[in-house]
Symmetry: C2
């Protein structure tokens, strides 16, 4: 096991009705003037925004609400809010994100930029986020895990570069996790969320660190949970228990408790980011297409690892003469599972074209300060990435 440091200090309030605790929790963590950030109109229509605002008002807090965060969130919302803050047009000392990963990541970017003199985008080109305004979240979809992580992903409008930033400074102070809020999600979004959670787990599972049984087992436990709950929630969107299991699994998956002390992959995420940036597909849908392709390409790097997950998670029988057969069966089982919950299996399902591959690859391996390759479980150069995109047709 590698040496590591781990701290997940976020205070989680989980369960029915917990959005009504927003005011109490903002106060607990020192907020006085709150900027509520949200996306489209669904949090307005559902009455959630009202309930959160009422909770803040009842706690005697000032607040302003600002909607309009887009899926695959863009830098312009962040820049605009930071300009308004710095010009004195608005004023806040606490960010409260009401929504999913895009909304939370946007709030984190604003929180980091608010206490930084330079361009907030510096963080998305590799600068570690040490300090930020405090952030709280009210989660509306189990997916990104941003409610429990020190990560944020934003797309820069100029060049449509989708990049991630990290730092303990942007770990949420609190996150409100009410599975009821996810019961109204359309099936497609629910499935995209589960796919994203599974991807976060595979990205940690694919490690070059040996002999890490404890985190292997924890990751497998969380994937098995999603696989178990997925058909239940697809059959009945109102299944609270299934929603609750998925939600806690998604949060725990991304706190990194199961990823500590081991090298991680993240090639699938990087390869997918180019797809959602170019085609505007949902991140989870992109990942559903990317993962089997990447895993097929990288399988030979460590057949045993893929065989292990095939046996332990997907229930495949170990072929001791031909472990690569078992490994492949595991990848096929993942692909079939994703199809069973309505995810696309080909890049063309969301408009991908073969002639775009050179563009995708160039941005992937050269964009945003990269030098001709991406590295993770396996280092992938332009040729490798091109072959992987080919596998998605």
């Amino acid at each position: 096991m590698d040496n590591f440091r781990f701290c997940s200090p976020t205070y989680f309030a989980f369960g029915k009705g917990t959005e009504n605790d927003a005011g109490e929790l903002v106060k607990k963590f020192g907020g006085t003037k709150v900027l509520i950030v949200y996306g489209g109109g669904s949090v307005v229509r559902s009455g959630l925004l009202d309930r959160v605002e009422n909770s803040l008002a009842a706690a005697g807090l000032e607040y302003t609400s600002k909607g309009g965060v887009k899926p695959n969130p863009l830098s312009d919302f962040v820049y605009e809010t930071l300009d308004d803050l710095k010009s004195g047009k608005i004023s806040f000392d606490f960010l409260l994100a009401v929504g999913g990963g895009s909304t939370i990541d946007t709030a984190k970017a604003i929180a980091a930029g608010a206490v930084y003199d330079g361009d907030f985008w510096d963080f998305y080109e590799g600068k570690w986020i040490e300090k930020a305004l405090p952030v709280g979240t009210v989660l509306t979809i189990a997916a990104a895990g941003s409610e429990g992580s020190g990560d944020s992903v934003i797309t820069k409008v100029e060049g449509m570069l989708k990049r991630g930033a990290s730092g303990d400074g942007i770990r949420p102070k609190f996150s409100i996790l009410n599975p009821e809020l996810t019961q109204t999600l359309p099936p497609y979004q629910t499935a995209c969320g589960m796919t994203d959670i599974i991807a976060h787990l595979y990205e940690r599972y694919l490690t070059n660190t040996k002999d890490v049984e404890v985190t292997d087992r924890l990751i497998e436990a969380l994937i098995m949970t999603i696989v178990h709950e997925a058909p239940r929630v697809m059959a009945d969107p109102n299944n609270y228990e299934a929603r609750a299991n998925i939600m806690w699994a998604g949060t725990v998956a991304h706190t990194n408790v199961a990823g500590s002390g081991r090298s991680q992959d993240w090639n699938s995420h990087n390869i997918e980011h180019e797809l959602s940036a170019l085609y505007g597909c949902a991140h989870g849908a992109g990942l559903a297409v990317v993962m089997p392709a990447v895993f097929t390409y990288c399988m030979e790097h460590d057949v045993t690892r893929f065989a292990q997950i095939a046996v332990r998670v997907w229930g495949c029988k170990m072929d001791f003469y031909h472990p690569e057969v078992t490994a492949k069966q595991g990848i096929e089982a993942l692909r079939n599972f994703l199809i069973s919950i309505g995810m696309p299996s080909k890049i063309s399902d969301f408009g991908g074209k073969k002639e775009d591959i050179p563009v995708l690859v160039d941005k992937l391996v050269n964009g945003g300060g990269r030098n001709g390759s991406i590295s993770g479980f396996v280092t992938l150069d332009a040729k490798a990435c091109s072959e992987i995109y080919e596998l998605m047709f």
Copy 2:
């Protein structure tokens, strides 16, 4: 899933040589004058105490070191230290425990008592610990999980009452987890530690909350880790990787991330506390005798639960006609595993006598403010507890 709140803010520094980060970490969490608490001479003889003291000195911190914490730690060490603090004989604003669960629990008791006007024992009779001086730990045995928990267990000398206290106030600010420090442990202590970890997991597994797949799976993952690593570490005490997997499993087990949103048991711990209080046996050794007896007694309360763990963790084949057969096989597999690592299987192995049962039972169900029973997975009255102690012969 039940509504819950969960926060595990402890900062973990894991890996080789991390005891040398003690000074940096005390400073990070605001300590200036440190009371180092430790147990017997092994941390002195091994040079660990020196390394920790040197690290504090290098960080410019003042410190005093106080040894003498006993296994199954007693209240008199706590009272004495608090008297010295309150009379001005010593002065400190940070507790650093260097040792195992007994040492850490003692430091927590001092930390809570130091900022409380009443008798610190109030906390061990049920008062929640909201505030305490900051505590850090340098862990030397994977066992109690106190390095990541908000719990502490102390035995009151008067009446030899062994009781637990809890509260977010005593969650350690940081814990240093260096598996190398556990390589010199005698096999018996290593095995006692693993048994304690497994007990913490079973206590959470035995729940009356339905449909909690995610935490079931996480608990199973951690138990399977211990079961996998145990023979490796018993065969070779210097196996760093096995030690590392056990250590992280033990810590995660007790942060409660895998116990959130579900009712828990803790009857085995309560029943064991009377054994170590009366016979002075190691807590883990006591648990090895207690667990199979309690589980056998309580199996009928939820045969399916015991069958599930038998199949998933112990690899038993499900007997669909007779699930109680599978459930029993799982308990037998646990018992055999514990014997295989050198744990006792009978109360008489550490001096238990049948004629003591009435005393044990009376203290258990009536001592320290209890009213004739203990409650957990199953509510157990005096008669039930008596039958359970009988099963241990």
